[in-house]
């Protein structure tokens, strides 16, 4: 592979992996949302609900 090939590969692989990971995170979020009661997924306030 020429050096241009490696350079293109670096960009393509980076964004492909990031996109793949982002989609996986979103998919997990959608799947889990269905399993959780609506009052548990009001964003903004949800994170502050710490437990002792």
């Amino acid at each position: 592979m020429s050096s241009t090939g490696y350079i293109v590969a670096a960009w393509v692989v980076t964004f492909a992996v990031v996109a793949g990971y982002a989609l996986w995170v979103l998919a997990r979020g959608r799947r889990l949302s269905r399993e959780v009661a609506p009052e548990e997924r009001r964003w903004m306030t949800a994170g502050s609900r710490g437990r002792e």
Binding site: S3, P38, W43, G47
Partner: protein, 256 residues
């Protein structure tokens, strides 16, 4: 419960249904900004910026390599802060923040290594050698994979959080070692970061591409972290409701 939920529903107005994904107005705005940033970065990093005098076209790999490693380090530092705060406060928030950040850090650090190998193949002539910077990098990467592996071991949320917090605090010690490896031992890896490289004869668009890359990847990290944190939060609630469901079933039987 419905009243309290709609009262606290800041993002979705009262009466609107609860979100069915981890997105909110904030993440949508952030996500749109990130996508615009990525488009700009491709334009400047691949097409507009000139090749470097010393590095040639390979500087374009560094536009990926440097932001990914910066974000990975930031993510691991967030994990360390979350771990320390968990051990102090013992709240779920810090544990989930630490874990979410660690996973993102591993993804970005893996990309850093991949980009670095491609750059090394062009510049050094080899993908990999067990030289100090690369060896310590491998140790750092494996340590955080270890963190995720420890997290995957089933345990009560408290036990798991404590174990992970200890690993998360120990692992971050690797970062200064990786950083100083080029000064402490002889190796192939260059001594300074891209910013050190560019400073003496910094060129407008090259510097712009470098800083733009950093900014874009920081936005990306923020977007991913919010989503990933919400996923972690939902996973905890789902695990609880699974357990509560089983208890409710028994309770129902008992009531009969």
């Amino acid at each position: 419960m419905t009243t309290s939920a709609s009262a606290t529903g800041t993002t979705s107005g009262a009466g609107t249904p609860a979100p069915t994904s981890t997105a909110s107005t904030a993440t949508r705005v952030l996500g749109a900004a990130t996508l615009v940033g990525i488009a700009l970065l491709v334009v400047f990093g691949v097409f507009v910026s000139p090749p470097d005098k010393e590095l040639g076209e390979t500087i374009r790999i560094l536009y990926m390599h440097v932001p990914t490693v910066s974000v990975a380090y930031l993510a691991f530092i967030v994990t360390a802060v979350g771990s320390a705060m968990y051990l102090w406060k013992r709240t779920e928030f810090w544990d989930l923040l630490a874990a979410s950040s660690a996973e993102i850090g591993v993804v970005f650090f893996g990309l850093t290594i991949l980009n670095g190998m491609l750059w090394g193949k062009i510049t050094w002539g080899v993908f990999w050698r067990w030289e100090p910077r690369l060896t310590t990098t491998a140790v750092l990467f494996l340590t955080y994979i270890g963190y995720l592996a420890v997290r995957a071991v089933p345990a009560s949320p408290r036990t798991r959080a404590t174990r992970c917090a200890v690993v998360g605090l120990l692992a971050v010690v690797n970062i200064p070692i990786v950083h100083k490896a080029v000064d402490w031992w002889r190796g192939l890896h260059q001594e300074r970061t891209i910013f050190g490289t560019l400073k003496p004869e910094i060129q407008g668009t090259q510097a712009f591409a470098a800083y733009l890359g950093l900014g874009v990847f920081l936005l990306l990290f923020a977007w991913l972290l919010i989503h990933r944190f919400r996923v972690a939060f939902l996973a905890e609630r789902a695990a609880e409701s699974g357990l509560e469901g089983a208890i409710a079933e028994r309770r129902q039987e008992a009531g009969q």
